[in-house]
Assembly symmetry: C2
Homo-oligomer: 220 residues x 2
């Protein structure tokens, strides 16, 4: 049974993992016969009121504890997870990927990545194991592997400004419709736009389900 790591970044599109993307990924992987290994960094995060879209001044939550809501408690501190424990890695989107796993949402191409997230992504790619990411999460990959001069080929859909930031971090950005995905064969990376472009949960699901299928095929 293939073990697929999933890096969560909280619970909610504006300050954590995009919930629909995470659950659709979990369901598609379970239906494909994979075992999932959920993880998140044990760190503080800022809070956004999802009813108003406004920051909640002074509020702090813990990324690992909030991610545990999506994981129904079945989750590990990413500091304790190694690439050797996994056959592949999947990173759902949501602003948590760009605010908690790294600070791309605030600093753009000058962002810093959480050290354990960077370590795991680097080790998975070095071990030639598949890496998938959707929505804004490919920004993480662009930063880490761009710095490593691996020229990752990724998509975040079609947004020119975000695509430009990814290019300036050393990635090659390829435009991609919501119901498709991009494969970087050299680095074994699969990316899909999901809610960067999706107008409905079905649209997000189509691209994510195809991404999971491509990931599982890459393991064969």
């Amino acid at each position: 049974m293939a073990k697929i790591g999933i890096i969560l970044s909280g619970c909610g599109v504006y300050d954590g993992s995009e919930i629909h993307e995470a659950v659709i990924t979990l369901l598609a992987l379970d239906r494909a016969g994979a075992e999932v290994v959920m993880m998140a960094p044990n760190m503080e995060q800022a809070v956004v009121n999802h009813l108003t879209g406004e920051p909640v001044e002074g509020a702090i939550r813990n990324v690992l504890e909030e991610s545990a809501r999506i994981a129904r408690g079945n989750i590990s501190d990413i500091a304790a997870v190694n690439a050797a424990d996994l056959d592949a890695l999947f990173i759902p989107g949501g602003f948590g990927a760009a605010k908690n796993l790294c600070d791309f949402a605030f600093k753009g191409s000058d962002c810093d990545v959480h050290p354990d997230v960077a370590r795991l992504i680097q080790d998975i790619v070095a071990a030639k194991k598949p890496l998938a990411a959707v929505c804004i999460a490919p920004a993480l990959i662009a930063k880490i592997l761009g710095d490593d001069k691996l020229n990752p080929q990724v998509t975040i859909g079609t947004d020119a400004e975000t695509a430009g930031a990814l290019s300036s971090m050393g990635a090659t950005h390829l435009s991609c419709p919501v119901n498709e995905f991009i494969i970087d064969k050299e680095n074994k990376i699969i990316t899909s736009p999901a809610y960067m472009l999706a107008g409905s949960i079905s649209e997000a699901a189509e691209g994510i389900e195809k991404t999971v299928d491509a990931l599982m095929e890459m393991l064969d």
Copy 2:
């Protein structure tokens, strides 16, 4: 396009809506061509740390704001929603259904139901519009329609103690496997066990997807 109301109760299995159940419901309804109308009560809730399963002493969140995480902000206060606005109603499970929408988790068959939740369920049933509920949410239906002497036929799976509580509230409990559902034709109610029995997200999804299919068929 059929308008299906979804009553959320927070965000996370131990103190809110079960996230997998809610997202699987949203996806299945969207794929069936329905429009969803998400709602939750605007009220305070207690908080459970989903990493440890322990209550967070003194912590308070708002059910509507937390539910908005699942809804990506697209959600209404249930006080503003009427049965006339909807073609059917769906209630996912999670402890939020038994702690926030009512207090069945604390008081069992002596529980009280949030007045707007009770109003909407009564009005939907009176209008002969379909009502679906999964996991522990059928306890709400048992209490409300049991009090109204409508003898609802529902399932929460096979747990004898919970089933007994539903019976003592005036419902008829029927045992049901995780991948199936129960229909009360008289009251137009569809229920399925979901995570009351599911050992995996795929198992929960099978019953929920069948429940959504049955709901949509009932609308034809």
